[in-house]
């Protein structure tokens, strides 16, 4: 319970103080505390599970340790996305996460809410909504970094997901997940504007002509 309360304070402070304001030392310290909490959590109460997955999400997405995906995602985890998309297994989830982190390496997560229903015997269902700020400063399948920000005109990109958590062969696993996030905004952020593409093409032509 003491660990749980301390993590809550950390998370609240993080939400209040904003993003990217901590030194690397502070970030490492915060991450280590969350890792300890994740390791020691017994998942005995819904409130504990909520704090656990808030910490878990931050360690993966904000503190850039996507390998932690394997802690709760197994070879058989099914992830449903929008438009009928589906992927199975922690490796697939990991690959997608790394690709996204590479494109948006400065990503900061702000939790809108997370809450849980269930118990130790039957497992837990939880729903969470997050909003994130990030800039496309890394390469992606859509090309070179655009420098564009995901949040625009004071509006955020939201991501919302539901997870079903169960004990499988003695280990807690996310057996199924459903995610809908701001895919269109994410793709648009990673894609150069048509005008920029036309301008870049014109510059190339001019340079070639001058040579």
């Amino acid at each position: 319970m003491n660990i749980s309360m301390h993590i809550s304070d950390l998370i609240e402070k993080r939400n209040e103080t904003g993003y990217g304001n901590e030194s690397i030392k502070e970030e490492v310290e915060a991450r280590k505390q969350m890792e300890a909490f994740i390791r020691d959590c017994r998942l005995e109460l819904p409130e504990e599970v909520a704090e656990l997955f808030e910490s878990y999400t931050r360690v993966i997405w904000q503190y850039q340790c996507p390998g932690m995906i394997h802690k709760f995602y197994s070879d058989e985890t099914i992830c449903h996305g929008e438009g009928g998309k589906k992927c199975i297994g922690s490796e697939a989830v990991l690959a997608g996460t790394i690709a996204h982190l590479r494109a948006f390496p400065d990503r900061r997560v702000h939790f809108v809410d997370i809450f849980v229903e269930g118990n130790e015997e039957d497992g837990y269902h939880f729903g969470q909504a997050t909003r994130f700020i990030a800039s496309n400063t890394g390469w992606s399948r859509y090309g070179e970094p655009t420098g564009k920000s995901l949040s625009r005109d004071g509006e955020w990109c939201h991501s919302i997901c539901e997870c079903h958590l169960k004990k499988v062969k003695g280990r807690w696993r996310v057996v199924e997940e459903w995610v809908v996030d701001s895919q269109e905004a994410i793709i648009e952020t990673m894609t150069k504007d048509k005008e920029e593409i036309v301008e870049a093409a014109a510059d190339c032509s001019q340079n070639a002509a001058e040579k």
């Binding site: 819904p46 449903h80 996305g81 929008e82 438009g83 009928g84 809108v112 809410d113 809450f115 849980v116 229903e117 269902h125 939880f126 729903g127 969470q128 909504a129 909003r131 949040s151 625009r152 005109d153 509006e155 955020w156 990109c157 939201h158 991501s159 919302i160 997901c161 539901e162 459903w178 995610v179 809908v180 996030d181 701001s182 895919q183 269109e184 905004a185």
Partner: protein, 168 residues
């Protein structure tokens, strides 16, 4: 007659949502399912005025915001006009009781329907949403001045898929 069947169901759902006491999680779960069906399946979108705060904080995907309950009703009208046979397949509802005046609710559903009405993308395509139109939403339901109202919601659609279905 089908119209009689529809109206009988509407009457049942209206009675259920109007008489809900919100005393426990199971009641709230039923309320959310009943209201969803009433609004989307049975096209009673005016009921949203009963249960959403006038200036509800409502976030959609892709940086979109809905500004208050009036805007929300218009949004639902758009969807129902574009997919006149729209039905909701509610897969799961999670309810968390914060206290006697506050519940948090998470709903997972799939929209099912055919684009047989005009949309901003053009004339009807006749294409179906199939089983791919996942919608997830997270809601805060609070007792405000003695009445239960949704005061906050994050609601995300499979916007890309909806656009694809509405585009020739």
């Amino acid at each position: 007659m089908i119209s009689d069947l529809y109206m009988d169901t509407i009457d049942e759902l209206m009675e259920a949502v109007d008489n809900c006491k919100f005393e426990d999680k199971e009641e709230v779960r039923s309320f959310v399912c009943n209201l969803t069906k009433l609004v989307y399946d049975y096209k009673m979108m005016g009921k949203l005025y009963d249960f959403y705060l006038e200036d509800v904080e409502y976030h959609k995907q892709n940086r979109r915001r809905i500004h208050g309950v009036v805007d929300l009703v218009h949004n639902v009208l758009d969807m129902c006009a574009e997919f006149p046979d729209l039905k909701t397949d509610i897969e799961n509802v999670i309810v968390y009781k914060v206290d006697d005046t506050f519940y948090k609710v998470f709903r997972r559903l799939r929209y099912k329907g055919t684009n047989s009405g005009y949309s901003k993308y053009g004339p009807p395509t006749g294409k179906s949403l199939g089983d791919n139109c996942l919608n997830l939403s997270l809601m805060h339901l609070k007792k405000v001045d003695g009445q239960w109202k949704f005061v906050f919601e994050v609601n995300c659609d499979s916007e890309g898929w909806i656009k694809e279905v509405q585009t020739q």
